[in-house]
Symmetry: D2
Subunit: 375 residues, 4 copies
């Protein structure tokens, strides 16, 4: 689907600008009969919400979601679900200095070249704030996938700037603001961020997300492969510049004798492929990694031009995330859920419910260490 709609059958149409009256989305194609309330969606929104630690933007957006349609007496009716989030904390004056100039690394220049007109308030349409409706829709997909197929999702930060974060303990992920699966490294991460913030600079991050309990058979080759759609979803997230599935760029130096995951009667013996073969899910965990660039909105002055083409200097004083990657984990999980949801419906359309329900051979990797993906 072109433009602001994500998905072919579970279609999420995103609308809104950072500092307009509201943002939100319409989900069309959701299966009927799913128990759904604000309490299913709000927790996911709260996970990505700004203002929760000193390491993210201090904007205080409540991000309170309202269900305007598609749910009756607590059940989805199969008709479009409109989710609305009113914008509350809009200090547009913070952005006054970017009206006529193009911030380096930002979408200011390209939106202007494409449309000839743009809403500059808070980045307008290109703001990371527009990931909130994606997360809200993802919460609906997650609930259906969990109930229908037992599919669950996890995600964590595996690198912050130059600091690699070894995977130690999944239970630590929700206990620190970085989604780090490693309690011991958190002080180092905090010190790193404090230094960065004082310097008026920003850094990148690497995030890993996984889906567990994925039905085998999802994916629509030749072109609309599961891995292709995952790459589409992830690269479409603000600031992402790289996507890996399974061993990712590690495969370049591998041999075929090492890479091809052997199959045993008890399941796959390894997961170099990351849960996809020929564009179709194997039933193993889906393993995805993304590279997030450093925030472009920094206090350090950079050269740019104004709309008349004259040279100028830009520095940004708004309340920005010094590392957008910090809040990216729940968003990336949501995107993965949206891709799987759409493919679950696509598969059911063509092949029916039967095959998903009756796996004839074991499809799960017997042991699966979350941090050992690159192995």
């Amino acid at each position: 689907m072109p433009g602001s709609t994500f998905g072919t059958l579970f279609r999420v149409t995103n609308f809104g600008e950072s500092h307009g009256p509201a943002i939100g989305c319409v989900i069309d194609g959701c299966p009927p009969g799913l128990a759904l309330g604000v309490e299913d969606i709000q927790p996911e929104l709260d996970r990505r919400r700004p203002g929760t630690s000193r390491h993210v933007t201090q904007r205080n957006e409540a991000d309170q979601v309202e269900i305007l349609s598609g749910v009756y007496e607590g059940l989805t009716t199969g008709t479009p679900i409109c989710l609305l989030i009113r914008n509350t904390d809009q200090r547009s004056k913070d952005y006054g200095n970017i009206l006529d100039t193009f911030r380096p690394g930002h979408a200011d220049y390209t939106y202007w070249r494409k449309y000839g007109v743009r809403d500059p308030r808070g980045g307008g349409r290109s703001s990371a704030r527009l990931t909130a409706p994606t997360v809200a829709a993802g919460a609906v997909a997650r609930k259906w996938l969990r109930q229908q197929h037992g599919t669950t999702f996890s995600g964590w930060m595996s690198q912050l700037g130059e600091i690699a974060i070894p995977f130690e303990d999944a239970a630590q992920i929700p206990l620190n603001p970085f989604y780090a699966p490693n309690a011991g490294i958190v002080p180092q991460l905090e010190a790193y961020m404090d230094t960065l913030r004082k310097a008026g600079d920003s850094c990148g991050a690497r995030i890993e997300v996984r889906a567990h309990g994925v039905p085998p058979g999802l994916g629509e080759p030749l072109y609309d492969r599961l891995d292709a759609d995952i790459a589409f979803a992830m690269m479409g997230l603000n600031a992402v510049k790289g996507v890996e599935i399974g061993d990712g760029f590690g495969v370049v130096a591998q041999r075929g004798s090492h890479h091809g995951d052997e199959i045993t009667p008890a399941g796959f013996a390894s997961n170099h492929g990351g849960g996809v073969l020929g564009g179709i899910s194997t039933g193993q965990d889906l393993v995805v990694r993304i590279a997030i660039k450093p925030t472009s909105s920094i206090r350090t002055p950079k050269a740019s031009i104004d709309r008349a083409g004259a040279p100028t200097q830009v520095e940004t004083f708004g309340r920005h995330d010094p590392c957008v990657g910090i809040r990216a984990t729940p968003i990336a999980e949501s995107l993965l859920a949206l891709v799987l949801m759409d493919h679950a419906l696509l598969h059911r359309a063509q092949c029916g419910d039967v095959q998903l329900a009756t796996p004839a051979v074991p499809a799960q990797v017997p042991t699966q260490t979350p941090g050992a993906a690159g192995g």
Copy 2:
């Protein structure tokens, strides 16, 4: 578009199996009035054709394309263009041993889990042979983009297995079977491949592709961003496990003060972003890198199961590429062309011809060293 159709407005529908009567595609939505003949398409097919050196599969497929529709007196009519390639060299007996077993790393298992029935001859639908129609369609897109916008494409191998290939001279690329931009390293690559082939093993590769002379303004955020569609296209190519745009995974350890490309009245001062900001083209070169896994069809025996779930050993004796990455360069270029073609039409639909035609400020990077993308 789901399944075997690529693109929203320039739509390529791919059909065929490796060892069926024919493969091909239907291109719907091509602008009318484009001069088009077999001579525009065949050279691109010949670039990806097997059997051209000892380092690729020795299957001898002529890959002769026939235009069945959509062209009248040498001009496209705006109606669907059917391109047909008859299969000629089909030694199905080579594949007899894979009828009932699943080759590790192959799509055998997933196609069987998805559809319950599969054409095993030569990999059937999951064969890399099905990239030929993609390349044929890409040739049409390339011609239109070159004529309409002056857009051109280049690609090369930047790593083969463990061997990094420094970019030295673009003129060398077509002169060796590896698409290596470096004449001096070719003997080393040949020796590497000979060793690998004798060992019955395979290796991965990294390919870089670029588009030059890209109009600014292409891309349809929020979701259907140009970079998202590039990632979709590239990750959907057989054996690809990673995609990078611009500095790719290099951004993780970068600072914002370094990453954001400054803009001067003479153009962008660098290209860390790889030609996309906010999902929309900047007018700079598009810079894309992909990681290709080692071929799964190897002579080395590997553990697997048969359709009854019993353990077995699989070794593949067919005539396979020991490195599918060697033939990937022209395919990746074609995919990039298909993405740009579709986005050029999408942009024209919404915003008209005018903006593309009248760039108000310089959008080109003044100097652009192809090999220095990661800088």
Copy 3:
């Protein structure tokens, strides 16, 4: 596009239920730079609004539209335009008696069979109230088409129940509640409706809509023809059971020597085809007629079953239109505008702006009497 989205490039996603918190739509793909405000949309909503005469439902819905996104400083930005209409007059108790029974002629039964769950309040999703967002989106399309191509729309009632309404004077259409192009017949129509209302019954209607100043060349055969999309749009309007283009069912008894519209250097000599040949617009007026069935919500008792399958009687006491056709004219005009808008963008995508701008031969019928369509 499936489900609740209308259009391929100018995409209108409709959401909401009759008695939920709100209804509305998201328009994605609107060209940027269009001057747009509530004042462009509200008048069209007011034309279809109930409560404006004693011949339509007495529900008093303000239908006040709010623009939530996609417009900045009075101009469309090219990003999704969310239009929201809060529901204000929801007397759900009026509908209590239909919770467990299926009203004959209504969508109650089919929604229940499809989704297993339904919102019964005021017809829920199947209410004619959901045409309001369509009309709102149509107003945007109308403005763009008028500015870009000079295209305008007209519509009127040509039959009410058994009473044919001869076309006399287009100026009369907005001056009576029936959209009748004939002042003299209005008293007869009013008496007819009064009798019907007292009898607790309802009647059908025939509506004619036209587009004037249509660019030639719109339509995407083979399947996505302009006339096919018009039929899709019109038959998709609540209560429509028949669609005609040009001479419609009159062609069955015609001869080819009569039907084929002759072309002269001054333009087409007649318009039996209704402005479409081979699925593509000729540049003549588009001529469309629709048949609207009598309202199913009537006070006359009818046999039905309840959800347990037991026989029951249904009579409906809510405030319903005794002839839904009376308010259909502005809706049908809006649907025609949405179809043309989408095809104008589709055509521009494939063929560019040039052809539309430079008609080489006259494409307009020199004289065009609105009421003489069947001629």
Copy 4:
């Protein structure tokens, strides 16, 4: 889907020109495991084939279909099915006189205005010959629907020119060249056609098609209703100018007390609605009627212009159908099958297999006289 692709999930992409090397289609999204061979498709093609009586064009097209992909050992594999029909009887010289002029009532003018270039041989892309791939694809849909849901199709001519054809006996339909359900009227039809042919003129026709055994619940409101898609399909067929569902234009003069089909524990008591309520199938027979205009290619001279805009006279001497409606019955049945097929998959995607399989209340009309649709 835009252009030459029909359907959202069961997608038929049509290609070819009347006098090019071949015509055909690619079906993507077909469920796997369906037994399919040429013998399933060829009989339907033979039903629409020209040259079978003196009342249709005497072109002798064998219309022999070839399956190029998507079927392995007699079963569909779930991958694209390419169906190819080589053109054999192409007397292009017959069409020499239309190269530079526009035949009144034909698509010559509009294709030229849209694309600026056109293939004039035999009408090129706008030829009724291009319905052959539609019929071939329809045969696949029919087989699946019959096996999966017991759905069958019927169709007949109900009027030829001025002659109404009373429905008497369905068994007669395949026994005469007109698809007339009435043996007694055939001599009158033959005499009518002979007179018309001698006069060098043509006439229109009305065709009725029905689907029996339709699962309830098919249709995707708000916009993508089942009736809307039927109207799209039918109005998109060459020469169709009107579409009715159920009582069609008869509803205008009906009362609500008459129209709304009562429901009894034994099923619906009548079928004024034609099997659709609120855009969703009821489980009753689908009842559709179409109006087909008289063939535009006639020997009678008509005024037109040439490409330079100068006045000219056009008469057409090719071998044309004097009534295209005669061959339209199998095509209209095929289109209805394609619509139902796509909606069966769309419904299964969103709502699963369960509801279709377990109807809780009777959904079939107890008695159903095919000819009594307008009742």
